[in-house]
């Protein structure tokens, strides 16, 4: 069996080196770039180090700080809605006997639509001249909103798109979890005469804690990387109302051509992401 190990090593080695080159090296390169004043127009020239200038500039960059706030808003609002809605629908699915599999596979669709397209579709729906939400509002007697021209409304338009895409993910996760829950606690609750709400609050939710943490974790991570929807719907506007840090990095690098500065911003953002990760994971492990 010794030769087995050699063969395994031969199989793993290419992967190891590929991952090294594809992921570790670029990150190191990113760190290096963040200490330079690299401009898009200057690539190929010398990358001269300018020390901590980029990072110092970040501290007083209002637009950067605003974008961090937008990021937090996006994440908190979006994920809360997705969790509540997702759980609700999963509970519904859990209650029916026939057709659950079909319904679940239908809910997969929003998850596989290209994100660009999601942005485009919702942009179309938010454009008054093309009907869409405006038409629905008319039928329901609700006021017409010019979604994409007002900062506040645009923010909610993007939230809507994000909720549309990702709630199915939450639905599927909770649905799988619900199916695998043990029956005994529910039997006990029924025998004790608990109402549906009491069962939900005292039995179901606590049992779903592990899944909730997992879902929270992945949702928050992914929400930090939101991009195509914003690119196609609002380009970060109006007035940077929908400009999270992820998008601002893009703007800095590829619209303002300040790659060095963008790299620094991305590093800081990424650093905060890692810190969040560590705290979150540690907090979960303690609770489980």
């Amino acid at each position: 069996m010794k030769t087995d190990e050699k063969i395994y090593a031969a199989a793993i080695a290419p992967y190891f080196f590929i991952m090294l080159v594809l992921t570790a090296v670029p990150v190191v390169f990113l760190i290096y770039i963040s200490f330079t004043g690299l401009k898009l127009t200057n690539i190929g020239g010398t990358f001269s180090l300018i020390g901590l200038d980029n990072f110092i500039q970040l501290l007083s960059d209002q637009r950067f700080l605003h974008s961090m706030w937008v990021t937090v808003k996006f994440i908190v609002i979006q994920v809360s809605i997705q969790l509540v809605l997702g759980l609700f629908v999963a509970l519904l699915i859990n209650n029916i006997k026939r057709g659950a599999t079909l319904i679940k596979s239908l809910f997969v669709i929003p998850l596989v639509v290209p994100p660009v397209l999601v942005g485009l579709i919702f942009r179309v729906l938010c454009t008054p001249q093309l009907g869409g939400f405006g038409w629905v509002a008319d039928i329901l007697g609700l006021p017409q909103i010019d979604w994409l021209s007002h900062p506040g409304a645009a923010f909610w338009a993007v939230i809507m798109a994000a909720v549309w895409v990702w709630t199915p993910y939450v639905i599927l996760m909770y649905s799988a979890a619900l199916e695998s829950l043990p029956k005994e606690p529910f039997e006990a609750a029924r025998i004790d005469g608990a109402t549906p709400f009491q069962t939900l609050y005292h039995v179901t939710l606590p049992l779903l804690k592990p899944v909730t943490y997992i879902v929270l974790f992945f949702r928050i991570l992914e929400a930090m990387a939101i991009f195509p929807i914003i690119y196609t719907m609002t380009s970060g506007g109006p007035a940077q109302a929908t400009e999270p840090t992820n998008y601002l990095v893009f703007q800095n690098a590829f619209h303002y051509y300040k790659i060095g500065y963008a790299a620094a911003m991305m590093l800081v953002f990424f650093g905060l992401l890692i810190v969040f990760n560590l705290f979150f994971v540690r907090g979960i492990i303690k609770k489980l």
């Binding site: 087995d4 190990e5 395994y8 090593a9 199989a11 793993i12 290419p14 992967y15 190891f16 590929i18 992921t23 670029p26 390169f29 990113l30 770039i33 690539i43 629908v89 519904l92 699915i93 029916i96 319904i103 596979s105 997969v108 669709i109 998850l111 596989v112 290209p114 994100p115 660009v116 397209l117 999601v118 485009l120 579709i121 179309v124 729906l125 001249q129 093309l130 009907g131 038409w135 549309w164 895409v165 199915p168 993910y169 599927l172 996760m173 991570l221 990387a225 991009f227 195509p228 690119y231 196609t232 992820n246 990095v249 893009f250 690098a253 963008a262 790299a263 991305m266 990424f270 990760n277």
Partner: protein
């Protein structure tokens, strides 16, 4: 509460919510068949003469979008092929070897997929500019590998783990080599896993936008990027743009429909969308 009411109420509610989920797509399909005039009519038209020329125009006018679709196919298939080629054997090897750094590699795997794309885009773009990989198929396939390779491993390792060792060991006792055992016994049994891996890597590569929009220009421009050009130029030709969207959507929806079983399981394997 009457149980029957509960059940019917639940179904009704679910169908309503499904309707909400499908409404945007329905709207897209409708829009793809409207002319500019029909699109701007209010109240919106639901019954009208379909403007098939929207679709034709995608491929004939300057065949720009058709070209981008072809690029998407090339890049996606290339990504799938290369990821499976490297990822599948690696998964098996990682699982069964006693490599000291196994755990580190596996968690490295997981963490890479959780990093926002922007972290990689800046160094890749800069490097590609210098070595001339910008706007190329290889360039895209390489950067997609960051997500696709770990994805394949993430899917295949549990699948391989489920295969009883006795199966492989019986073959080895009978004199088969490791390779024989792998190709003739392990692989056929793990077909569901392979299918899931194929589908998910294809969908990721097909839908991917962030890397594509920054790294491609004219030669390797993929469909997701091309469709945004319809907003910039063309004076907002909504119908044609929507037709492009439908073309982009069809492969993904068809695949998902055909392989429904695997989709749900695969998506829950923590697959993160690009």
């Amino acid at each position: 509460m009457n149980p029957k009411f509960y059940t019917w109420g639940t179904y009704a509610l679910l169908i309503f919510i499904l309707g909400l989920a499908f409404f945007p797509i329905f709207w897209l399909v409708l829009l793809s068949l409207k002319t500019q005039v029909q699109a701007m009519t209010y109240p919106p038209l639901f019954i009208f003469k379909p403007a098939w020329q929207n679709f034709v125009r995608l491929f004939t006018d300057d065949s720009f979008f058709g070209f981008s679709l072809l690029n998407s196919v090339i890049v996606s298939l290339g990504s799938v092929g290369s990821s499976l080629l490297i990822g599948v054997p690696t998964s098996y090897a990682l699982l069964h070897s006693k490599f000291r750094f196994k755990k580190i590699l596996l968690s490295w795997n997981l963490t890479t997929r959780m990093v926002p794309g922007m972290v990689f885009i800046i160094p890749y773009f800069t490097a590609y500019q210098v070595i001339g990989l910008r706007d190329s198929y290889i360039g895209l396939i390489l950067i997609y590998a960051i997500y696709n390779l770990p994805l394949v491993i993430w899917i295949m390792v549990p699948f391989f783990d489920q295969i009883p060792r006795e199966l492989e060991e019986a073959a080895r006792v009978d004199g088969a080599t490791l390779f024989d055992a792998f190709f003739k016994i392990v692989l056929p049994v793990s077909t569901p896993g392979l299918i899931t891996a194929t589908i998910l890597t294809f969908i990721f590569s097909w839908n991917e936008f962030v890397f594509a929009v920054i790294l491609t220009r004219r030669n390797a421009i993929t469909a997701p990027v091309a469709i945004t050009k319809y907003i910039a130029y063309e004076g907002l030709e909504w119908g044609t743009m929507a037709a492009g969207g439908v073309c982009m959507l069809i492969p993904v929806v068809v695949i998902s429909a055909l392989i429904r079983k695997y989709m749900v399981k695969g998506l829950m394997a923590g697959a993160v969308k690009g």
